[in-house]
Amino acid sequence: MKIKLTFWRVVFLVIMALGIYSTIIRYSRGLGTATNMSDQFPWGFWIGFDCLCGVMLAAGGFCIVGAVYLFNVRGLHSVVRPAVLTAFLGYLLFIVGLLFDLGRPWFIWHQLIYMNPRSVMFEVGMCVMTYTTVLFFEFLPNVFERFNLHTPIKWIHKIYPVLIVLGILLSTLHQSSLGSLYLIMPSKLHPFWYSPALPFFFFASAVAVGLAMTIFESTQSSKALGRQLELSVLVRLGGALLVALWVNALLRFEDYFHRGLLRQIVRPSYEAYFLWLELALSFVIPITLLSFKKIRLSPNGLYLASVISLFGFITNRLNVSVIGFETYVGHHYVPKWTEFSVTLMIVAMGFALFRLAVQYLPIFPKEELVSEQLDAELLSKVKTVTSPAVPALENAGN
């Protein structure tokens, strides 16, 4: 078999080579050599991006599963599998990132025997372990189907309601607990980002990111696989994203209003610049874009708005974890190239694994097979009852 060397494959190989080199430095020289973290900055880019953003970007799994299976929203079935796959990969890679960041990763199992239920980090750890397991089971039918193993699929169908409820419960806890982590540092984190409402913000933004991420990955994979884009699905997700962004923006505004910070946030300062960047990318630009019907009905417009908002929320997580501490610490923290290169490697692994999975597993079934989902019989019965209202939009968009 001959493998063609395309541009992206070369980029991938370069990223992997640098990443492996950085990995060797990390495990042979220690955190001090591999990172710019210090006693003043004990948490750096790996916590800020790999952990906070990694988990946030995996939120599509519980959002879509929740919409489709919990609220029984019609017409989103085709994005369930890619969303679950993204979440599963996201959590696996988050754990990989954690193995780099933890000082003594070989003792990670201590979490299971030396429990401190008062610790937010304990909650985070338990949620990671249990939710990754749940995602594994939600992902498993893809593999069984690939090898035509029907009996185990039936078993998983039986426990599916439990998996769904557990998955959403754990995601609620996990997404919000990443915000709760920072509640213990009221004197350290800048007031622009320290708020008693942090857990709510982290959860609410995860929902928005879950929707944006699903639009992003559906568009990406349809491009990569030369598949026809299901505009009706994207349009519905886009509408939901617009609502989620508004809710998030209002929550943030309420918070600043109640804490009397409205004047401070408009006054130029180091933190204000980063806050403006965050608010512009996560709210102002995508909300403005999505407010135009023309954009809301075009695949490119939806893609653009989603990607911009994703960058906005990534900025938010980095502001909370890095920028918000710089004034307190009194100096800047800039990640070392090895930190970036490890993160890039993990992200590249994510893209590659996603690509492999969609190629070899029935993640995107043929259009007719979409209904061959977990509640296939039920859906076929209901199909006659509910008339999808979206094809009209599809025509309008084209």
């Binding site: 001090g32 000082g103 030396y114 429990m115 985070v124 213990i184």
Partner: protein, 260 residues
Amino acid sequence: MGKALLYDSTMCIGCKQCEQACADQNKLPYSEAIAAESVQSAHKYTVVLTKGDKFMRRLCMHCEHPACASACPVGALHKTKEGPVEYDVWKCIGCRYCMVACAFNQPKYEWGSLNPRVRKCIMCPDRVVAGKQTACAEICPTGATKFGDRDDLIKDAQERIRQNPSTYLPRIYGLNEVGGTCVLILAGVKVEEFGYPASEKIGDTPMPEYTGRVMEKVPDFIPVWSLVLGGIYWISHRRDEVAAAEAEERAREGKNGSTR
């Protein structure tokens, strides 16, 4: 009865014998070069800072309600009833949440190590349990660092302020800060000048309460939220079942009608 340290900076002569004794007690290296270091680190648990003719010690405050201990996911850090906040290296997984959680930035890390540990003053727990003073208090030639019961030390400090009001600022740093600490500081200048966090910034609320308010809701949240989610699932799927059953019935009726 909780033990504590009272550090009276007006009595300190900056001899740094406490640094030396601390290093010996904890088997840390100590040299002239290390003595000259004016920051705490993994190999320097306590430091005597100099500013003009004023001195100030820094060390772990041994909070009554330590943020580090509440933050640690594996309980590697814990408050003993004698007062010290101890560290169990075996349990530690190296997440460094204790370091970010500490309002006084006391836990330090062995960044160069391949099996790094969190390092901080642990208030000589072996000595304290054996009824002895901490190494730093024992060696102090002027009594600037004094070891004793926390309540007694507070009375002592209040007495000193009352007798020499011109020498001291009228406050005991650590009396109420973050809910009280087991290191109490008396000074003629503001301790903030030496890098201590301002009292009004850290407040009197124990830091674990900020996360505790959320964490205490989790045990209730789990069953309630599960029920809500399960309920939503049931309702939304029940609707389908009913709709499907009705559709089937209609279909059957239709068939019956046509045959008739």
